[in-house]
Amino acid sequence: MMRRDRRHRSLDPCHAGVSLVELLAAMTAASVVMSAAVSLVHRGYALESRSRQTIADERTALRLARQLRADVHAADRVRWAAVPDEPWLIMIDMPTGTVTYATTAVGLERIVKPPVGMPSREDFTFSREASWVVRGDGSLVSLSGTSVEDRSRRPPLVIDIAAALATGSTLIHGGEP
């Protein structure tokens, strides 16, 4: 009696529910659609995060370039580091004080020391570690930064800033900070 009921269940118009095959097929189809949607959302968030960091780095690079050129143009004397591992990169003497560009773990730091009063600091922070090199040539000082290789899919950070000294200013290689 029970076997007969089971065999004719699908023919029963009042029977509610689905067979195991239908359930598996529906779950598979739903899984495929959900996987595609979740993957897309994940990619969207990852892309948005990378884009935000890249744009922030670009903005910081522009700010650094503008500030460094303004400092060098106003300088009486510019000293650049003798060795690459020096904690400071560029030291700029100007009538309003001394400006030092030094490396930090995630970028550069600009320290302004006025003749009187407290020093002030300004950070140029990037989203990843970079190596910095400064060069002097004639009346030009160049600051270059490139990001250290990492596993992120972002393009490498490439910064190259050249600044010309004003007439009468001097460029010195090395010197005490």
Partner: protein, 145 residues
């Protein structure tokens, strides 16, 4: 009256349960179309970010070239402008970058327009341009004899 009529919702057609294959295919097609419409937006955003980065690098290159101009001797300015090339880093990052300069002299000094173009939509017709003035007192700002 059949015994299951009592549990069937009002308005539900008699004898119909679930979805037809056509309905399922139509729903899957709509979802696929939605996903397919979103993917190009991501691609476009990635291209926009890359183009923004190229513009920043190109702008920095023009500013660097303008700084170098300020250090050029007056008698070497024309030769310097004729031999302008983009830096190796920019050449590697900006596709087919080409640098050109136009010089104009006036009593106020020397006006130099630096133009950088590269392979991007409209960039060859409208190159990124930076105009710099070399005042008469600067090394490169003496008027031509």
């Amino acid at each position: 009256m059949h015994s299951c009529e009592a549990v069937r919702p009002p308005g539900h057609p008699a004898g119909r349960r679930g979805f037809t294959t056509l309905e399922v295919i139509a729903a899957a097609g709509l979802v696929s179309a939605g996903l397919a419409a979103i993917v190009p937006i991501f691609v476009r955003q990635a291209r926009l970010v890359a183009e923004t980065r190229r513009e920043r690098i190109a702008l920095e290159e023009l500013a660097n070239q303008a700084e170098r101009l300020a250090a050029v001797r007056p008698d070497a300015l024309d030769a310097h402008l004729a031999g302008l090339t983009v830096s190796p880093a920019v050449a590697a990052l900006v596709p087919a970058a080409r640098l050109a300069a136009v010089r104009g002299d006036s009593p106020l000094g020397t006006r130099v327009a630096l133009m950088l173009s590269w392979d991007a939509a409209g960039r060859h017709e409208r190159p990124l341009t930076l105009v710099t003035w070399l005042p008469p007192g600067s090394p490169a700002g003496e008027p031509r004899r």
